[in-house]
């Protein structure tokens, strides 16, 4: 029987894993907790703990078995659950942070590093349950290790709930204060979304949306290193050809996500959901999205041309990936989390990359202002205004945007805060000192844009 593959193809695959840090970033098991609702917090927490542990008991072992079988690292095994505000709705007197602690215990029991879904979807308005949950976020994040929280404050269809935006500015400040001994680490696990996807496998914004099945397996791929080497190997080619080379590369790495996702779903006996074909950087050199942009010919990420380079990259990633998997979902695009990307950190520290440029970049890639540390004395209204700007970009452009911002207590511009592990370390960036207070104090809702009228 002849070898079906060319030696160059086989060696390319080996090189991706061995030298270019290709990995599957996460297998995320989505679990519906709607049936755990109860009027009393005690029994509700027992049900949540029991269901998560029962549903995910084989998740980590299955992930490790897949790594063995296919020789491709699977960095994280994680869990996403129903937005907790839906589950705690009948429980009018309890403290939702208790449910966060139940999630934390369940995550520890099954051995996952993050569990997402301490969430509320309030793009048009807040239920009593949503408000109780949002107000408990600082306590929830200060008293848990593994729980991630997200709040959706806007959408193209609903507009932007500016009351929620104002509230989130205060919640972020309070979360930073309650985790001040860890440089405000709690805020690194809190995402404010516009147009939040319901099947995103990536943390901290993962939750198991209302339209999802009982359980589902979603996969997030990675691979900035592989794309970086593709760009570096072709220093002089014109843009059309460069986009084509990136497409070919992302096609291949997405195929691995498809293979691992399908096999994980089969072994766990749950449906396969989607592949999220996002380029997710890690703090390691050679695994950076900023380095890809620089390899295209920019002296430093953040200089003029950065937005165009990112637009080309993001589009080529999507086009290559779309052909490679039967179900695309989640965030899908290139991530630009500052603290998790060595090249972004360098660009900020050298003064090339500022918040305003990052905001422009979020117009053409997935997600938004991600893992950005700002001075600890930044007013809540300024944080809210940053959120409002990002939400507006998402609302008008019919895309997901998010803000994960850390007002690091006691820190000033030029300091660097360490979060450790995949969360990396963030240089503290300047925000505009001029006040947005009166703007945020207006309250109400920014109406849905004309783009929402698609029927």
């Amino acid at each position: 029987m002849p070898i079906q593959f060319q030696p160059t193809e086989i060696l390319e695959t080996i090189r991706m894993v061995a030298d270019e840090k290709f990995d599957i970033r996460t297998i995320t098991l989505g679990i519906s907790l709607l049936d755990c609702a109860h009027e009393e917090m005690g029994p509700l927490c027992d049900r949540v703990y029991e269901k998560v542990v029962r549903s995910a008991e084989r998740l980590v072992a299955t992930g490790e078995a897949l790594e063995e079988a296919y020789g491709i690292p699977i960095v994280n095994k994680r869990i996403a659950v129903t937005p907790m505000a839906h589950v705690t709705a009948p429980c009018r007197r309890g403290n939702p942070a208790e449910a966060a602690r139940a999630l934390d215990r369940a995550a520890a029991t099954v051995g996952v590093n993050f569990i997402g879904g301490f969430s509320a979807l309030v793009q048009k308005g807040m239920t009593d349950s949503d408000r109780r949950l949002i107000e408990s976020i600082p306590e929830a994040l200060a008293t848990t290790e593994r729980v991630c929280s997200s709040v959706n404050v806007g959408s193209t269809k609903a507009g932007i709930n500016m009351d929620a935006v104002a509230l989130m500015g205060r919640v972020i400040r309070e979360t930073a204060r309650r985790t001040a001994d860890r440089d405000g680490l709690g805020c690194a696990k809190l995402v404010v979304f516009c147009n939040a996807p319901e099947d995103n496998p990536f943390m901290a914004g993962a939750f198991h949306g209302a339209g999802e099945p009982e359980k589902v397996v979603n996969v997030g791929i990675s691979g900035p290193g592989v794309v970086l080497n593709t760009v570096r190997r072709n220093p002089d080619i014109r843009f059309g050809l460069l986009a084509d080379r990136i497409k070919r590369t992302t096609f291949k790495i997405t195929r691995m996500g498809e293979l691992i996702g399908r096999e994980a779903a089969r072994r766990l006996g749950v449906p396969f959901g989607i592949v999220d074909l996002s380029l997710a950087p890690t703090p390691a050199w050679g695994d950076s999205v900023a380095e890809i942009l620089e390899a295209m010919g920019l002296e430093r990420c953040g200089t003029h041309g950065t937005t165009a380079a990112l637009a080309l990259l993001n589009d080529a990633v999507k086009k290559g990936g779309a052909m490679a998997t039967s179900y695309v979902g989640g965030l899908t695009g290139a991530f630009i989390p500052v603290s998790e990307d060595a090249g972004m950190i360098r660009a900020v520290e050298e003064g090339t990359l500022c918040i305003d440029k990052l905001e422009a970049m979020t117009c053409v890639c997935s997600v938004g202002l991600d893992m950005i540390a700002v001075p600890g004395d930044t007013p809540a209204s300024t944080l809210s205004a940053v959120i409002a700007d990002e939400a507006a970009i998402g609302m008008i452009n019919r895309k997901t945007t998010a803000v994960r911002i850390i007002p690091a207590p006691g820190r000033q511009v030029g300091d660097r805060v360490e979060f450790g592990g995949l969360l990396g370390s963030a240089p503290v960036m300047a925000v505009h000192p001029e006040s947005s207070e009166a703007f945020i104090a207006r309250g109400g809702r920014i109406p849905a844009p004309i783009q929402s009228m698609t029927n």
Binding site: M1, P7, I14
Partner: protein
């Protein structure tokens, strides 16, 4: 693309020396792995071998065979990798 393949691709890369193929194939034979095809090239002293093997009669698990091959690679001073054929099938064929 749905069925579970039982074939593996074994690659050996390193400095050329006597006995690389012999060493690696002995490990495969000892564990009931049937070699379907071998392709070998040497470019300026750099040895590279790609083997497709049938794992259906393998007497040990995939991870144990992988450990044994990696240990043999260390002994021979070459890098041995073994991967499920599906990895290549998914990545390079539609």
């Amino acid at each position: 693309m749905e069925e579970q393949g039982t074939r593996a691709v074994i690659t050996v890369v390193g400095q050329d020396r006597v006995g690389i193929i012999a060493g690696v194939t002995v490990v495969l034979a000892e564990h009931g792995v049937n070699i379907l095809d071998i392709s070998q090239t040497i470019v300026s002293g750099f040895f590279s071998m790609i083997t497709v093997a049938d794992m259906s009669g393998c007497s040990v698990g995939f991870s144990e065979l992988k450990e044994k091959l990696e240990a043999k690679g260390l002994e021979l001073g070459v890098q041995v990798t073994i991967q499920h054929e599906d990895v290549f099938r998914y990545m390079h064929r539609i």
